[in-house]
């Protein structure tokens, strides 16, 4: 056994300004294996792989490919070294065809014609070999996320990559699509390709990898054989201490009906029907969880309830009709009606990153009379309120004068949560509450949401993390292609059943072949998950 590792990194370090993203990282990956890299958000996984792919330059350290020391100053060098990468956010030109995207950067000559012709043949061959069929003439704009990911893999294979890096590839896929992806990866491994899989999902590591490395805060904390480890052990390695993966909560005590949603429909400005006839109720003291693959209408649902997307249908708060299209359909009116909203993307929506913490605490409630004095804003009062909220929500550092961007993801989320929860709302909308949040803060945030429920508030939780939904929600509705496919109780369902619903299949009792699931998904491809 003297084969050289396909990839060997020695002492890789990388800093972004004062931020140390990777610290002295070393790793060996043997050819023909699938190697997992797991770690929390912000642990430095993507940075490390981007260095390997020449997207960033390491400050120090060495890279060996097949035993040979290799300099990778840019992506071209990585491609030449036989490395391909599928980024978390796809790098595709939206208004190009699949074929053009595959050929881009790997053209044979200055003229386009012959390159496209050759690529067309090559795609056919690859499709047959690895179950990777795509329509070469489809525009990326018109195909679904799963297909787009396939194009990314094909791009790498077309460039004859022997080493394939996938960064959080399942984030935008349904469980069935993810299964298909894993089958492809297994085929590739069988062909002798080396695969690196970056993920934060323990299940995927266990399911498919041969070896796994764990990263924490920019450092590599362990590399082990997958067969010789267990999820709890990996979780502990990720976080550095034993964590509770379950949320502590008592059964819900649902009270009166707080919100009634009936036949809600959203058509966005591109004319795409995003939400199709959605109806549900939420009672006081319960959490309704909405599961689903990103981009199936959940975001729009939150936006309608939050008052910044127009819709038809009806929403009643405590029996009173809410304006969905007129002049009183805005975030301000919703807040006055007792709807608070922790948005899915705190950096894009929930906070103004360049504003001070205190300015952010007034955000959305800046019309509150308590924050005014005469015709001016009472900045002193806002600062004072902020300092108190920061203390109660354990925001660190508790300085109202720091700008939002200088807080960590978890602390940013706590600022948003403090702002919304402390308004004592009747209905709290929560989107992806723990995305990009460190595990310590996750516990705190989950606990606060459950506490709010126990105070008798209605909560609508949208999350793409099935674990989070299963752990927090009292009832689960699954959204697919803008519709609610079904409702389940967390104690009476499992990931497999929810997964089928997430793929749009409602008769979850029957056995379903993968082909069926795929056909179902293809039916809606190009619509769902556009924004991912």
């Amino acid at each position: 056994m003297s084969t050289a590792p396909a990839i060997e990194l020695k002492g890789i370090s990388k800093a972004f300004g004062p931020v140390q993203a990777n610290k002295d990282i070393s790793i060996r990956v043997m050819p023909g294996t699938i190697h997992g890299i797991i770690g929390e958000n912000g642990a430095g996984k993507s940075t490390l792989m981007s260095i390997l792919y020449g997207f960033y330059k390491a400050d120090s350290g060495e890279i060996f490919i097949n035993g040979k020391k290799t300099d990778i100053p840019d992506s071209q060098a990585a491609i030449n070294a036989g490395i391909g990468m599928v980024f978390q956010h796809f790098k595709l030109v939206q208004n190009f065809t699949v074929l053009e995207n595959v050929v881009l950067g790997a053209e044979d000559s200055a003229l386009l014609g012959p390159s496209l012709a050759r690529a067309r043949g090559e795609l056919k061959r690859l499709a047959a070999e690895y179950e990777l069929s795509v329509d070469p003439d489809a525009l990326i704009d018109d195909i679904g996320v799963g297909m787009q990911q396939r194009v990314e893999i094909l791009k790498a294979l077309y460039r004859q990559a022997d080493i394939l890096i996938l960064d959080e590839p399942t984030g935008v896929l349904t469980p069935a699509e993810a299964d298909h992806l894993f089958r492809i990866l297994e085929n590739l491994r069988a062909e002798g390709k080396t695969i690196i899989l970056i993920t934060h999902k323990l299940r995927e590591i266990i399911e498919i990898t041969d070896t796994v490395s764990v990263m924490r805060r920019g450092e590599m904390t362990a590399t082990v054989k997958t067969a010789e480890t267990s999820p709890p052990e990996l979780a502990e390695l990720m976080v550095g201490r034993k964590v509770l993966l379950r949320v502590k909560k008592t059964p819900a005590q649902p009270g009166e009906k707080i919100v009634e949603v009936r036949d809600l429909n959203v058509v966005d400005d591109k004319g795409v029907h995003r939400v199709k006839g959605v109806s549900f109720d939420i009672r006081a003291g319960e959490i309704l969880g909405i599961a689903g693959v990103a981009g199936n209408g959940q975001s729009e649902l939150l936006e309608v309830l939050g008052g910044y997307e127009k819709a038809t249908g009806s929403i009643r708060m405590r029996g009173e009709e809410i304006d969905l299209t007129g002049s009183r359909s805005d975030g301000q009116s919703r807040r006055r009606r007792g709807i608070a909203h922790v948005p899915e993307d705190r950096q894009r929506e929930g906070l103004i990153m360049d504003f001070h913490a205190w300015e952010n605490v007034a955000f959305g409630y800046h019309a509150d009379p308590a924050y005014q004095s005469g015709m001016f804003m009472n900045n002193a009062a806002i600062r004072e309120a902020t300092a108190e909220k920061m203390k109660r929500f354990d925001v660190r550092p508790p300085d109202p004068n720091l700008s939002a961007k200088s807080f960590s993801g978890g602390n940013q989320q706590k600022i948003v949560l403090a702002r919304e929860i402390e308004r004592n709302p009747d209905l709290l909308l929560v989107g992806q509450p723990t995305r990009g949040v460190d595990i310590g803060a996750i516990e705190f945030i989950h606990q606060r949401i459950v506490e709010l429920r126990d105070e008798g508030k209605a909560i609508l939780l949208v999350s793409v993390e099935l674990d989070e939904i299963l752990g927090l929600a009292d009832r689960i509705a699954v959204m697919f292609d803008g519709q609610i496919m079904g409702e389940r109780l967390p104690g009476e369902t499992d990931e497999k059943e929810l997964g089928l619903l997430m793929a749009g299949i409602t008769d979850t009792e029957r056995e379903h072949s993968l082909a069926e699931v795929e056909a179902q998904l293809a039916h809606t491809s190009g619509r769902a998950g556009k924004e991912a």
Binding site: A21, R217, G331, R335, E349, I352, M353, H366, S406, S408
Partner: protein, 376 residues
Amino acid sequence: MERMPKWADVVLIPLISLLLAAILSALVILAIGESPVEALKLMVSGALGSTYGWGYTLYYATNFIFTGLCVAIAFHARMFNIGGEGQALLGGLGVAIVLLYIPWPHWTIALIAAIVAAGAFGAAWAAIPAYLQAKRGSHIVITTIMFNFIAAALLNWALVGPLKAPGQEPATSSFPEATHLPTLGDVFGVFGIEWSHAAPANVSFFIAILACFALWALIWRTRLGYEIRAFGHSEPAARYAGISPTRIIMIAMLISGALAGCMAINNVQGEAERLVLNAAEGAGFIGIAVALMGRSHPFGVFLAAVLFGFLYQGGAELALWMNIQRELIVVIQALVILFTGALDNMIRMPLEKLFVAAGRQPPAPDRKSTSAEGAQ
């Protein structure tokens, strides 16, 4: 996290930019065979050496305060209003119509009426691009450029057509005596201060200063200002918070256009006392340099406007006494825009590195978690 102290961002970077612009301008002067030192001396004595010079400097500065504020308030809403020139021209049209066709008993009332007319015309000219941006997504930079040209054609037509006074010149007749604004000489005369009566600086200067204060309070002390700034930083966030993008774009641009229009009380009512062709003389564009230089802060705008007033008056002196064309000022203006606006990073990046290197200290535990978070 903050890489640089605030003062460096607010003071140091504009100063370095200005210095670079000055050095390059000096090189241009050298290249055409003149002495930069002589030129600077001439500019200082011409623009600041007498109350007459100051009178011109402050007259130009008044124009630039209005147009600078015009660009600045739009910047806060992340709108780039290149249309200040056209809006200022329209403001002039408004002033001319109001002062020519309505008899005013006293300049104070005439001034108020002129402000209203100038503001309304300027705002109206900004309203269409603003509406198109808000409702149709038409890029406001392009539409405001187009509206500058349309405004020029419109005024051209008005001044050779309906508004033209008898005679050869494409201009209106002079405004009635009662509407003429007191010059700074007249104002200071009341207090017994000796000040040139010949220079065109007039009471509009004080209106401009008032506008600075008003805009400062608006941006940083009112709810509307808060909403404008929030929208300028992030449109999705503004929507989430229930701030209507359409409303903010319209209001910010209307204020912006009104400010540019109000320049007309200075150059049309205060100085020319009639409306002539190309009355704005590029002041709308200088507003861009002034706003960039002043970091979109009303007080910064004030300082930058005075600086450009000095450059303009000094430049006129250069053209008079040396073989340097007045257009040298346009070059300086271009360089200031280039360095403070487009090449900002060229100055900022090395400076940030310097501050990071100088201020490097063991990071606090909290900061460390920030770091890890920021990495992906």
